[in-house]
């Protein structure tokens, strides 16, 4: 009799848990998983969204292997992520540590200032970026001139444009990641720091041996989410450079958009999208394996 009631309650707990998760999973399934499967299906056809689909097997995938523009876009994407992700990680962690050390009122003020850019829509941030970085009249070049530095072409330069986009994204996303780190740092018991202080540890040593190791879970989360996000950057590129100049900011996501909606080549763009998805998926798995420890 008692065992049955125990089982019944366990069953009820289990059922409630899954029922709570069900709505979101249902949404995910309908709006994410099914479209991914459909995209794979479309990638096996030649289709321009109006004529009927023609099955071509893996021709699209064979084509993307020899597509110079695709490989170029991958290179730009990886370069973008290689610069953006570590910088964002380092800067948001550093600012979190810094704010944690401030007094409460100042800390709140600085934290709000850092977080405010996050509230701007991506298109607005792109437009602000365009104005700030204008080669002739932008504020940044004006400051350079006053400081005696040579003015830069920024978005008008094939070698600088990509990093300008990185800069805008750093500006708006820093606050969000910093707040996450801040919350995690606050979880670390003060006793550890006090004990370390008694042992004569320096600030840097405290960071390296206490703060950083204890932030492992949060770091993993931030790195994975930032990496995935960095592969999806579209808005700023569409508004600021349209993939230029000379395709220097034509990352894979933008190339896929171009093939799909400018050239109406749905089959090929689905293959490209699926390839990109596989790459991101693999990278995230690797990251997760390397960084997590139960």
């Amino acid at each position: 009799m008692v065992a049955n009631r125990k089982n019944a309650r366990k069953l009820q707990e289990w059922a409630t848990a899954y029922l709570f998760v069900l709505p979101d999973v249902a949404g995910l399934f309908v709006f994410v998983f099914l479209p991914i499967l459909y995209a794979f299906y479309v990638s096996l056809h030649r289709w321009n969204a109006f004529s009927p689909r023609a099955f071509v097997g893996f021709d699209n995938y064979a084509a993307l292997v020899s597509d110079a523009q695709w490989w170029h876009s991958l290179e730009r994407t990886f370069l973008f992520s290689a610069v953006y992700v570590p910088l964002l990680f380092a800067l948001s962690l550093a600012s979190a540590v810094m704010i944690h050390a401030l007094k409460k009122r100042t800390a709140n003020l600085v934290r709000t200032m850092f977080l405010m850019p996050f509230a701007i829509t991506s298109v607005t941030s792109a437009i602000i970026g365009i104005f700030l970085m204008d080669p002739r009249n932008g504020l940044i070049n004006q400051l350079f001139k006053h400081a005696g530095l040579p003015t830069q072409q920024f978005l008008g330069s094939p070698s600088q444009a990509l990093y300008c986009i990185v800069a805008v994204l750093l500006w708006i996303n820093l606050g969000y990641n910093m707040v996450i780190f801040l919350a995690a740092i606050k979880e670390i018991p003060r006793d550890y720091y006090e004990a370390a202080n008694l042992d004569g540890a320096s600030g840097w040593q405290m960071f390296r041996y206490i703060t950083f190791p204890l932030l492992r879970g949060t770091s993993t989360f931030i790195l994975i989410v930032t990496l995935i996000g960095s592969f999806q950057v579209m808005d700023q590129i569409m508004v600021m450079t349209k993939g230029g100049p000379v395709n220097s900011t034509q990352v894979s996501a933008y190339y896929i958009y171009k093939v799909a909606f400018e050239q109406m080549n749905m089959g090929y763009s689905s293959a490209l999208a699926f390839a990109l998805f596989s790459i991101i998926f693999a990278l995230s798995l690797i990251q997760l394996k390397l960084l997590s420890r139960e």
Binding site: P23, A49, R136, L155, G156, I172, Q232, G244
Partner: protein, 447 residues
């Protein structure tokens, strides 16, 4: 009756399910900016259903007319729709607009792909072949009123004809020219340029820290190519053969035209990044540029907003060993071939722009400034076509206009790449050869 806990939980879950169905892709982005945007939103009214549906109560046929125009132009079409609805009671037309980018990149293609395209819509030369190949545009040839077809310029009808079928109605010709600030030229001791060398020289003399010598569009896209084509045509070059099946890009004429374009950017005479769209005359109006290649649409704005700035216009300078040429763009009016009431839709389209010249005249002389592809309308508007800067267009530019070509998107992209490469330092002949190779590949695929 008291609801049990279970019932409440079920209700909440049902509500959450409904909400998540509307919420869509929440899980992936984790709140990071820089994630993909959700779908486009239409600016004006509601997207009507495709095809005219006659509802049970009245006999009226409903037609949907989707547009992208704004302000005065939008008001014009709203008035046309209202007038047409009032003067007859066979059909009722429902008009709606979206912003231009959404219209061309997502709204129209997706609607047509889903079989839900509007009955009446606008088509640009850039998208023309895409829609023509898909069979989305109705053959309008039988709907031209008596004698109307002969009124149109042959070139403008050719530009919308595929396999002998006239697939859209042209109603405006927007020509490009070189606009300039008279004062700036005079102060720098520069004559109005007539040749390529003079243009380059003038740009060099006029460029200062604060003022750009010549404004050209720096970013890839249909407008980018549109402004370059005159330079190519002046040299006698072209991108593709007449039948559009072969690339003719690997010629010295192409290389020279590419190089000329690139020089302005390489020498810093044309900015590589603009704060305002290159189609806006504001660059000259605000005093940040001395010269700009832009179209007939700029005249109204120049007169109304920048009346105190001495802006004038001249034909696009030509190479000494070449001829005058300019580009004629402009949207076309089209009917959905799969519309259930294509007949009625075609009748409306013809009524607006192929019948009474007054409506067509109002569009090209009052609402905006452009040329009409109809000779009778140009005749009727003679006075206006002689006013101010329009006179230069009418007397010196109109006859040299070549209609904007209707290339597939891949061709536009490849030509754009060649232009950008040369702008940033690549050798023009190399860039042309490379583009030629890519064009040949793409054209083979498109067969």
């Amino acid at each position: 009756m008291k609801l049990s806990k279970k019932a409440i939980a079920l209700l909440v879950l049902a509500a959450l399910l409904l909400l998540s169905a509307c919420g869509g892709n929440q899980a992936g982005s984790a709140g990071q900016n820089g994630g993909t945007t959700s779908g486009s939103s239409s600016a004006g009214g509601d997207a009507g259903n495709g095809g005219g549906q006659s509802d049970g109560s009245s006999e009226k046929i409903r037609l949907t007319f989707w547009d992208f125009h704004t302000e005065a132009e939008q008001a014009f079409f709203e008035r046309m729709v209202a007038e047409y609805n009032a003067i007859q009671d066979r059909v009722e037309i429902v008009y709606s607009t979206s912003n231009q980018t959404d219209y061309t990149t997502t709204k129209l293609p997706i609607a047509f792909a889903g079989g839900e395209g509007p009955d009446i819509f606008m088509i640009s030369p850039g998208d023309f072949m895409k829609f023509a190949n898909a069979g989305w545009m109705l053959d309008l040839t039988p709907y031209f009123p008596e004698g109307a077809l002969e009124d149109f310029l042959p070139a403008s009808i050719e530009a919308v004809t595929v396999d002998g079928k006239i697939l859209a109605l042209p109603f405006e010709l927007e020509l490009l020219a070189l606009y300039y600030n008279e004062d700036m030229l005079r102060n720098a001791g520069v004559d109005v340029p007539k040749t390529w060398d003079e243009l380059l020289d003038a740009a060099r003399k006029l460029t200062t820290d604060k003022v750009a010598g010549l404004i050209l569009p720096p970013e890839k896209g249909p407008y980018f190519n549109f402004v370059w084509y005159p330079f190519l045509w002046q040299k006698g070059g072209t991108v593709l053969s007449e039948d559009g099946k072969t690339s003719l890009f690997d010629t010295p004429e192409v290389a020279e035209a590419l190089d000329f374009w690139g020089t302005f950017f390489r020498e810093g005479l044309s900015p590589t990044k603009l704060q305002q769209h290159p189609t806006e005359i504001d660059h000259i109006g605000n005093g940040t540029a001395a010269m700009q290649i832009v179209g007939t649409w700029a005249i109204n704005r120049a007169e109304q907003v920048f009346g105190d700035v001495p802006i004038n216009v001249t034909p696009i300078p030509h190479p000494v060993d070449g001829r005058l040429a300019t580009d004629a763009g402009g949207w076309k009016f089209a009917v959905n071939a799969n519309s259930k009431h294509a007949d009625e839709a075609a009748k409306f389209v013809m009524w607006v722009f192929a019948e009474d010249p007054q409506r067509a005249l109002e569009w090209v002389t009052d609402i905006k400034f452009a040329y009409s592809p109809r000779k009778s309308v140009v005749e009727a508007g003679k006075e206006i076509y002689e006013k101010g800067m329009r006179k230069v267009f009418t007397e010196q530019i109109y006859d040299t206009a070549i209609p904007e070509p209707r290339y597939p998107a891949q061709v536009v992209d490849i030509v754009g790449d060649a232009l950008q490469e040369v702008m940033y330092g690549r050798d023009a002949a190399e860039a042309a050869a490379d583009a030629h190779r890519r064009l040949t590949e793409v054209l083979k695929e498109l067969e």
